[in-house]
Symmetry: C2
Subunit: 160 residues, 2 copies
DNA sequence: TATTGTTATACTCTATAACTATA
DNA sequence: TATAGTTATAGAGTATAACAATA
């Protein structure tokens, strides 16, 4: 409540910060705290959680991916994937069929509805993000994405 | 387990990603997921959680701050602050005394031990972060901090 | 009547262990 | 023997509601 409604009404509560704000981890967390509720609100409007949307999006981009691969990509536990996949399938957003050559695995594919929902929701999420990050000019935004991707992947190249 | 030990041993599982990776929120979350476990590991060595360290650090920088102000600064609930403050006090890292002019409030101050622990732990956390973000050159690192701070504060200025 | 600190509790997200069926 | 999917459960972290003391 305080975060969603009052963040621009509360007294800004200005304080000293000589250490915490110089740590990348803290800054990443804070930035995520500002953006995440906006994305979550948009996704909730489509009965999606952040993690369900992430799954749907990766499945849409990788037809035939199996659950353990998906879990590895999203760095989450296979066990926590089960209910999410179940719901996406029940809603007709994805399909799954046994892999003939290895009957332990299920090949996941997004349906047409799933792909369309993914695309339309992604656009709404992007707009919601822009309401927060719109303060960044395009160069800063592109640079930020590139740097964050590098932190994630651990690639040792340099930008520009 | 998979995230801590196997992330550099597992097959990288290369997949397509046309949408998810272009969203700032997702990129922030991913970057935080790489750095946070490292910070957490260091803090655990001092019997601190991320949130306890955050409290200690803000208190150290703002002697006399009260709990509701601290909660507002860290964007967390007052109620969740109680056990954290209790423990910090029991460990002799902070002290609290009633504010004479408003006996509902407790003024929080870091002890010498608390300030010293804050400083030494901060240095270890920074080193742990560097093990992940060391891939960034100093310019990229400074730019990242500045952009993230702007996302957090909502300041409409431009860098450089 | 409103606010501070507090307690108790619920809810979400993630992690762990164990099972089955297949390999 | 190992792996994919599954189930159940435990543990964090966070949010909500209500209370006593004080303003």
């Amino acid at each position: 409540m305080a975060q969603l409604d009052d963040q621009f009404q509360d007294d800004p509560v200005q304080v000293e910060d000589t250490v915490l704000g110089t740590l990348i981890g803290y800054r990443l967390k804070r930035a995520y705290m500002q953006i995440q509720p906006q994305a979550q609100r948009v996704l909730a409007g489509e009965n999606l959680r952040v993690v369900s949307f992430s799954c749907l999006s990766i499945i849409a981009d990788n037809p035939g991916i199996v659950q353990s691969e998906l879990a590895a990509v999203l760095q989450m536990e296979r066990s926590n994937l089960v209910v999410i996949i179940d719901e996406l399938e029940q809603r007709g957003l994805i399909g799954r069929e046994r892999v003939p050559t290895d009957r332990r695995r299920y090949a996941l594919t997004a349906t047409l509805r799933g792909r369309r929902l993914r695309d339309s929701v992604a656009e709404k999420v992007r707009q919601a993000e822009d309401a927060v990050i719109g303060r960044l000019n395009p160069q800063d935004r592109a640079h930020l994405l590139a740097v964050l991707e590098r932190l994630d992947a651990g690639a040792p190249q340099t930008t520009t």
